[in-house]
Symmetry: C2
Subunit: 327 residues, 2 copies
């Protein structure tokens, strides 16, 4: 019997191909946001990210946004591990009938992002293919790296900003759900031009000894929390404070819709950390010193299984169903 | 008027997108085989390479070979600039109906290559797309980097091995041209499983002060020589010694076919260097010390324009027509 990628789903596919290759001990484990190696007693961080045009080019989005996005995705993975980007490479596979102007726009958007993150696109590669595929490789450096250590009882889950924007954006653009005018601009701008949190790299460095684990929210809040649990091997996370801005809370009356937007949006590129129990105030103060938000949203509980949201004393199970390819 | 990539051709497309972005001064210029940055007084080399399944999967080639090839292509670019690979990342875009076994084979072939080159695949990315696209990012380190400096009158062009194998392989596999049984095995094995010349990295390091410029032969000997000329701005290269093994010379009677195989093969991943005039013997001795071949094939001539092959006192013009996408 022939078994296709589609019959397994992305998680199983990734698990299987990781099993197929040799592994070695590195500062960050395979499957973490980025790879780290040590060069001359410094950490070099290293990441490749790919997007396929037909999935990533949302209605109303332009090619500059697409270039911005692929760079942002790669930089975000470096930042969340404590690194600063040093250099970017872009690989573009495109069909022969694509307008050159669109390719230029992609590169300009990518370069705008590179400039915003204080670095450059220093090289790359072009290939012909039947559809648009963009890969971005980012190299960065760090004094300290933030691993994905197993969580411990009572570790506090915190996020670097509010969620829900991209979720509502995808609902509006892909499912044609209405967006109240009061939030339309902010939702669309955060959906089209997400920002990697390079502004937090000093804060992360300074708080690193109090951080158990970190991940960016590219796959959505729910999936990211499940990833933290997966690295722990067992247990669950209970979310008792929904990280949503008042404007959004006031604008969206349908609570189920809001919950879905918060947990299953993705590509917010916010940072999710597990703070070692008892060090919440220390970390909060470091964030405050730099004038940065840190929102405590819940805790790790050994006896739970999965992710839950507490609403009016009732536990709502947040299923694991982020964006998954090959499904 | 809408202008597509196809109406410009790959060289013009690359030129245009490089113009669209900011550049900075780095040890190696944009357009060189790899990118180099300096970290803690060491050179970090960095490269991304992409192959599209439908172009790279030759008849009779298996998916392991494909995995081997993408790693080899990325490693070769690091090596030719004087670097040793430190880590590899793989990004795979594949259609949902691809058999998982094929993906496993790709990863196993990639891992075999990684092991052969003394490194690991330490991370990556999977995406769904309508066709198979593989990207490999390689990071390496070097004590010295070999640039693409402008050539000077009389600089000697040398190559690390014989050419013609992959050219004959492509002719056989893609154009159904006959291959004499005496060379079939060697031609096919070098076509399916080319090898990056990591074995030369010590030699290159030791000879680096005598080397004006270097490039790998991934785009074919002719195109690589034209690239060396392009970095010079003008002039030409005259090839008076065809780098072909006697077995091949004896087996292929049709000289035009042989010439085409030597100059327009590509993906041999041999190293092409321009040795500073007067230092040929010094460099030759270093290669000999390590028991490595170095074949002097010709010279740079300021007054020429393009690449020429000298045969029986007559100059044959070797046109610039390597593999070009979007054409």
């Amino acid at each position: 019997m022939v078994s296709t990628l589609g019959s397994f789903g992305e998680k199983k596919v990734i698990e299987t191909i990781i099993k197929a290759i040799r592994k070695r001990k590195l500062p960050l484990e395979i499957g973490d946001d980025a790879t780290a190696i040590t060069v001359a007693s410094k950490y070099i961080l290293f990441k490749i990210d790919t997007i396929v045009g037909k999935y990533s080019l949302l209605p109303g989005m332009n090619y500059r946004d697409l270039g911005w996005r692929i760079v942002t995705a790669a930089v975000s993975d470096i930042v969340v591990k404590g690194g600063r980007p040093l250099s970017l490479l872009m690989s573009i596979t495109a069909p022969s009938d694509l307008e050159l102007e669109k390719l230029i726009d992609i590169m300009k958007g990518a370069d705008e992002a590179a400039e915003f993150y204080g670095t450059y696109i220093d090289g790359g590669d072009t290939n012909e293919g039947s559809e648009l595929v963009l890969s971005c490789a980012c190299i960065g450096s760090a004094n300290k790296v933030i691993k994905r250590n197993p969580l411990r009882e009572g570790d506090v889950i915190a996020v670097s900003g509010f969620f829900g924007y991209t979720g509502l954006g995808f609902q509006y653009l892909l499912e044609k759900k209405e967006l109240p005018p009061s939030i339309k601009n902010v939702v669309l701008s955060k959906t089209y031009r997400p920002i990697a949190r390079l502004d937090l790299v000093n804060v992360l460095e300074e708080s690193s000894e109090y951080i158990r684990s970190s991940i960016d929210s590219s796959d959505g809040l729910a999936e990211s929390l499940y990833q933290l649990i997966k690295c722990t091997g067992e247990g669950g996370i209970i979310v008792d404070n929904l990280p949503v801005h008042t404007t959004i809370l006031n604008a969206i009356q349908d609570f189920d819709r809001l919950l879905r937007a918060v947990f299953y949006g993705g590509e917010e590129f916010e940072i999710i950390i597990a703070v070692k129990r008892g060090f919440e105030n220390k970390v909060k103060k470091i964030f405050e010193k730099y004038n940065k938000d840190l929102i405590f949203i819940g805790n790790y509980r050994h006896k739970l299984d999965g992710v839950y949201f507490m609403k009016d004393q009732k536990r709502i199970h947040i299923e694991r169903k982020g964006w998954e390819y090959f499904s």
